[in-house]
């Protein structure tokens, strides 16, 4: 599943709705397409523990029934955790989801101690800007991702560094977990294998003040 593109996942769900015989609402026009909108696109190669999407159905079926029917028809590797009905006019998930939590595992080429890792993390955490290069439409641009990183912790497994991070996502901008890894590596030449970085999205949230809410809870 992790190798599916965002579009592939969207299509997989669209087809699942049809198999489950849950009637969808379609856009008008020559090429009617169903209205399925994910809160946040998941990058290819990233495992996810939880994604959210808005979908417009024809009629008003029971959310629990929809969830159960969907689950029966999903391809192996995808699972439905729940569904809630939202009244028309509710802002789209895409507009409200603004935090993503990731677990990133970076393979080590040589030994690293827990203290060594903590020291680097503490050092960069105190810096007020983390500059990373991104490829924009008009060539490379430099961006400061520091304001978009809200928590960063690390542990050493004998063969890996495991990072847990909370970063900004959504309409206000996205921080990619690999960028945080790059900042960490630039600060200290840790002996890691940059080609073996595995990313897992642990969750998506809506930050309201100090609180992190589940997108389902606020609906």
């Amino acid at each position: 599943m992790r190798w599916l593109s965002h579009l592939d996942t969207q299509k997989a769900f669209e087809r699942t709705f049809r198999r489950a015989q849950i009637p969808l609402k379609y856009s008008e026009g020559f090429n009617p397409h169903p209205k399925i909108a994910f809160a946040s696109a998941l990058a290819v190669g990233v495992v996810s523990q939880g994604e959210y999407f808005d979908v417009e159905l024809a009629g008003t079926p029971e959310p629990a029934v929809v969830a159960a029917k969907l689950q029966e028809s999903l391809p192996v590797g995808l699972r439905v955790f729940g569904a809630v009905a939202v009244p028309p006019g509710t802002p789209a998930l895409m507009a409200v989801v603004n935090r993503a939590r990731y677990r990133v595992q970076v393979a080590l080429n040589g030994p690293v101690t827990a203290e060594q890792l903590q020291t680097v993390i503490r050092r960069i955490w105190l810096q007020d800007s983390w500059l990373v290069e991104r490829v924009g439409k008009r060539g490379p641009i430099v961006k400061d991702i520091r304001p978009g990183v809200f928590a960063l912790q690390g542990e050493v497994d004998p063969e890996f560094i495991v990072l847990d991070m909370l970063v900004q996502t959504g309409s206000a901008g996205n921080v990619r977990p690999e960028e945080v890894v790059d900042v960490l590596l630039a600060a200290d030449g840790l002996p890691v294998n940059r080609e073996r970085v595995d990313v897992e999205r642990l969750g998506l949230f809506v930050a309201q003040g100090d609180r992190l809410l589940s997108p389902l809870a606020i609906r």
């Binding site: 190798w3 593109s5 592939d8 669209e14 087809r15 699942t16 198999r19 015989q21 028809s73 192996v76």
Partner: protein, 650 residues
Amino acid sequence: MEQTRRCFRQPHEVISAVLEDELLRKVAKPTRYTGGELNQCKKDWLRVDVTMAFAFPDVYEVAMSHLGMRILYHLVNEQPDLLMERVFAPWMDMEDMLRKREIPLFSLESHRPMAEFDVVGFTLQHEMSFTNVLNMLDLGKIALRSSDRKPDAPLIIAGGPCAANPEPLADFLDLVVLGDGEEVLPLLLRKIAAYKKETGWRNGGEGAGREELLHRLARIPGVYVPAFYQPHYGAAGELKGITPRYGDLPLRVRKQVVGDLEQAYFPTKPLVPFMEVVHDRVMLEVLRGCSRACRFCQAGTIYRPVRERSMATLKKQAVTTIQNTGYDEISLTSLNTADYSGVEPLIQELTTEHAAQKVGISLPSLRVDAFSVDLAKAVQKVRKRGLTFAPEAGTQRLRDVINKGVTEEDLWNVVDSVFSNGWSALKLYFIIGLPTETTADLDGIVSLAEQVVYRGTSLLRKIGVKKPVRVTVSVSAFIPKPQTPFQWEPQVSLTELENKQAYLRSRIRDRRITLNWHDAKVSFLEAELARGDRRLGQVIFLAWQKGCKFDGWSEHFNYERWLAALVEAGLEPGQYAYRVYPYDAILPWEHLDFGINRRYLVAEHQRALAGVRTADCRRDKCQGCGVCSSLEVSVDLRGDHNGKNPHRLL
């Protein structure tokens, strides 16, 4: 502990781990290699008697679009004792890594190396995929030539349209299946299973020879073992005959056909890929075969006779398949779906039935020659794709030569209804280099395209459409194909072909006409490979060694390497493509019997040169091609309107 566990990992476990941890993240489109799609069949290797890899010599998105693959995959896997997995050609990025890491080519389902399968079956869709067959064998660490294979190496088998003349690949294939695969394959696999059980073949059995196995298999009707057929060449290098090496083998191997398509297996729970593939939709096979008898067309001879499925069955299959896949489109596929005897009611009923779910009905390419534009409107309601029209030749004279049943009047009827119904674009297909072609025929293409533009423009204006008319003229080159009435004809020379293309380019001045043409060099090689004999095996081998692969992809095709390979193998380039075979010559594919009798092909060839048309046996009387009597089948029309469609233009 960790170390010991690693030591005992099976090759497929190692491959899975390397893919997941290292390779997939470095390739474009990783889902080409992951498998795990909806409706995939992953069976327990310990519970089946024989294992087969279906090998498609092209990338995932092409392979997955092939209906034949879907049929055989599910047919075999529905048998409890048989197993089939898929192996496709990796794209260059993956191939480089596999070679660098010495990882053998693997199957999508279990990631087992190709060489672990008892049987590896290639489908040969076109000549330009031949180097990919060699490349895949090499990536699978399987000896390229069948004579070099160890007794317990997998059997390398093939089928598909190029089985009409598999001689160029004879050195590399252990066995070729002629005709409809679903007839022969289960039988073949079970014979192999029996042999395994009896002799311990591929399981350490002593003296479990390959020769003996192949000899048993060669006795199954429709199975051709190239090594058992010995070609004899004369002093001048001409083919003098091809004789079987065992007395109990037939002189000619006859193709096998599904007699009753209605009863034939069809998968209604097919694979649904995650990534977008070329044909990403439900494919229903409405009919098999085509009897319009266009004289250049190989599909028109090797898939005879015409056999249809009934409307009731097709409608049932449509419902079940949509239910099992969730697709939003049903494509009615066949060589020419517009010929289906109940095409109009079928489309209308399917459209109505699936409208609520927003499932659209489409035809692979909407050839408007055989049906009303009203019908096109029904099909296009949901899907807006372009209309295509294939006059194939620019003048009535040449259309009669090739037996393309399109008259000038039909043509204008079609054009008129296309544009007055609001379409502003039309694609026209032509073939250049056809036998007897003159400059007048090329001029005919140009003037036809121009007239379409003029007529289209005034018709659009009449109905108040402001869009400019766009006409695409797509020109391919004539390739004389085995088992057709034109099999004796030469291809025109490469220079001549290129001159003809240049002539068309210079004559087409109107900006509203776009001219597309195929690389003439590819067409030349296709003819060379299509009409050749076993001496081309060395050429394919050398071309592959020089780096040729994905020759069907224009950006990878390298003519110079092929030319060098031909020369190095001691052949005269054009030796096969340009050869005029006299009627009494022994053709390289003489020993392969597709049911069409020789007398019929000769008569058709002569009628062509005389410009005499031949009727379609599905509407008219039998034309005596011989297929029905020799294969003991008959034309089988099942649509409810049995060919008498009142809306039919032709």
